[in-house]
């Protein structure tokens, strides 16, 4: 009995001593935790390059240029108004567009110009346009365009689209630090807004919408229909060789042979 109480007493003394000894340890832990949380908060603040939006871009006199593919002097001009985050645009870009590029654009029948038209339904459309435009600064717009549409499920609706875009940029051999600086500066937002405004001027209200010659066609139309519109526009252009279409040649940007 007395042995037991002696042990209990000894245990109490040890516990009290331990509690006193542990004080600096707990203080140290709290300090480490606070420093860690402060560092994380600082990083979060620094990296909170808020999601780009064209809503706040002042109306600037930037001319809508789009992104050109092919010969700007081809007999027919094709304009596409699309949203990188729209599934129908991705469907067209991955299924039909390769044929359009090969058989129409590369064959010299038409030029092709992509206009950003973020429809406001998706959270990362403008960010994707920004990522593509920054790749375009290094002549990789179309490569990035393809990556964005092919990988749409990877970044659509994500909170961190930039991480995915950056990985794409890296895989395309883009100078990532220059791309990064461009992306964060959001210097292309005015161009994106101008492209969007051009769509509004043409009463585009869904994506994708195509302008082939003088016809405006909404929807991800199949290749055969697309080709038929191009042929019709080509015939119209041939009969009026001097006439300029509504989509008069714009400044070349991101040209790809």
């Amino acid at each position: 009995m007395s042995q037991k109480s002696a042990r209990a007493q000894r245990s109490n003394v040890v516990r009290t001593q331990r509690a006193a000894n542990l004080k600096p340890f707990y203080i140290g832990l709290v300090v480490v935790a606070l420093i860690g949380i402060a560092l994380i908060a600082r990083t979060a603040q620094h990296s909170d390059a808020s999601r780009p939006t064209i809503a706040n871009v002042a109306a600037t006199p930037v001319k809508a240029e789009g992104h050109l593919l092919g010969n700007p002097n081809a007999p027919v001009q094709i304009l596409e108004f699309a949203d990188f985050e729209c599934p129908h645009c991705a469907e067209f870009a991955t299924i039909t567009e390769p044929d359009v590029r090969k058989r129409i654009v590369q064959a010299g029948l038409a030029s092709y110009r992509y206009f950003d038209f973020p429809i406001g339904e998706f959270s990362n459309s403008v960010a994707a346009s920004n990522a593509a435009a920054c790749a375009g600064d290094q002549n990789k717009f179309w490569e990035m365009h393809d990556k964005l549409f092919q990988g749409q499920p990877d970044w659509s609706g994500e909170n961190n689209p930039k991480a995915v875009f950056k990985a794409y940029a890296k895989s395309l051999g883009v100078d990532v630090s220059a791309w990064d600086a461009c992306y964060d500066s959001q210097k292309h937002l005015a161009d994106i807004k101008a492209n969007h405004d051009e769509g509004l001027r043409r009463h585009v209200n869904s994506t994708p919408t195509f302008v082939i010659g003088t016809k405006q066609i909404p929807g991800a139309i199949p290749y055969d229909m697309f080709k038929a519109y191009v042929d019709t526009a080509a015939m119209a252009a041939a009969s009026k060789p001097v006439a300029k279409s509504d989509s008069a040649p714009l400044k070349e940007a991101g040209t790809k042979p």
């Binding site: 245990s11 040890v14 516990r15 331990r18 509690a19 542990l22 340890f25 140290g28 832990l29 480490v32 935790a33 860690g36 949380i37 994380i40 990083t43 979060a44 990296s47 909170d48 390059a49 990877d154 994500e158 909170n159 961190n160 930039k162 991480a163 995915v164 950056k166 990985a167 890296k170």
Partner: protein, 164 residues
């Protein structure tokens, strides 16, 4: 104490990666390797939950257990067993993830490597803690009985005899 400190640092690393994954942090500080590529790969999710969040939960449990074991005399051995089991499993999981980084994703995330290293250190410290707890347990029983430690005591401890 060592385990608690390591678990706290590990929890901070995991918190950082989790906040990135859920979008609170837009970009990781990553001077070595390709953290974002790894953290946006499909291996960054496990059962629909970010791997970093699993890591965070594990570190928090380890931290709580370590703090309890620092404070208490009793249950030390059981806690040490749990620490060994949990950190051992986590080391295996980290090794699996690192192999994915090296051979499948072909990119290394320095924060993930840091976490794997911390978890390995926790595992080693837990093994030492377990050994210490077992020795203390044996000494206490010896002290209580005033005799040689029992060979097959049936003293209520589970998980095999101290002799293995």
């Amino acid at each position: 104490m060592t385990i608690a400190l390591l678990a706290l640092v590990g929890a901070l690393v995991a918190l950082y990666l989790t906040l990135f994954k859920v979008g609170v942090i837009g970009e990781l500080v990553c001077n070595i390797g390709s953290c974002e590529r790894v953290n946006t790969s499909r291996w960054a999710m496990f059962f629909g939950v970010p791997v970093a969040a699993w890591g965070l939960a594990t570190y928090v449990v380890l931290l709580v257990l370590a703090l309890v074991s620092v404070q208490r005399d009793t249950l030390e051995r059981q806690i040490a067993w749990v620490l060994v089991a949990l950190s051992g499993w986590s080391v295996l999981f980290s090794a699996w993830l690192t192999s994915k980084e090296l051979f499948v994703i072909h990119a290394i995330c320095i924060w993930c490597v840091a976490s794997a290293t911390i978890m390995t250190l926790i595992f080693l410290a837990s093994l030492l803690e377990l050994g210490r707890a077992r020795r203390a347990d044996r000494a206490e029983r010896f002290d209580a009985h005033g005799a040689a430690p029992p060979v097959a005591s049936g003293s209520g401890t589970m998980g095999g005899s101290p002799q293995g």
